[in-house]
Symmetry: C2
Subunit: 162 residues, 2 copies
């Protein structure tokens, strides 16, 4: 699988047109988080579900997604207790090869909103100007990785642009 | 999934009729081993492959097996480095509800042979008399759990009945 080129920013206020974006509520939980890998299950509100294995960022990138049926998801979910994230993911294709994913977190993470933008090239990523409603750039900041959020909650200054 | 009722013994010498048992070579590796769960991938010599999630024995038992295609197995296998077991599994149905699995380990574990017998009931398990070629009973001994063997190798007295 190709290397992902993306930037991640905090969101200070929701964009006006958010209702027009595609939205899916995602429940995700971690079966295991180790130095080498994370194994996650995720279910969307249309009941599609997956198990994903990702290597740690430091290792040669492996990301493998397996489809889970609804029953299997239900049986595995209890194993993720204490390592969960629930969020509504709003998605918009901003331009060819450029996808916006705006995640509005729920539960213990309520108040946290992030924007991830995936680019077709490093050049596009560098050239991009964030929208005015986006805040601090947290690209590569482990504190905002979903596995960290699931286990440790949101950093204190999550919603501030400081 | 139903509770497994099984006993596990070391094997001192291979049974004479082993050639008549069904045999499959299995490569298995652990993507993650935590206090709560193990996530394992396994491939048989006919190229069937699976990813299995098991809860830790202390927790309410969950065991979920997902089919992996050959390519997915190949991509995930590098993530199991240092946590692998290769063995030939010989299988025989000894009686209805009673399955013998005799595992002949290879590589770093060569010399280790175990027998696992699965029973239909606790009563059957207690009443069972092991065959003369079987040795020490290691039922419930964590040192002989495959995840331990994969990470730490065989206990020193593995092939002795002491």
């Amino acid at each position: 699988m190709a290397q992902e080129i993306e930037r991640k920013l905090l969101v200070d206020e929701l964009p006006d047109d958010l209702d027009a974006w595609r939205a899916r509520r995602l429940e995700q939980g971690y079966l295991a988080i180790t130095d080498e890998a994370e194994i996650r299950i995720r279910r969307a509100d249309d009941n599609d579900a997956w198990l994903t294995v990702k290597s740690a960022p430091s290792l040669s990138r492996v990301e493998e997604e397996l489809v889970l049926d609804a029953d299997a998801f239900e049986r595995l979910w209890p194993l993720t207790e204490g390592r969960r994230v629930v969020k509504v993911r709003h998605t918009r294709e901003d331009a060819p090869g450029m996808t916006f994913e705006l995640d509005v977190y729920e539960g213990a993470l309520a108040g946290l909103v992030t924007l991830e933008v995936e680019f077709a090239s490093e050049e596009d990523a560098r050239a991009w100007t964030p929208p005015p409603w986006a805040g601090r750039d947290v690209t590569g900041d482990k504190a905002y990785a979903n596995q960290t959020l699931a286990v440790h909650g949101a950093p204190r200054s999550a919603s501030r642009d400081d």
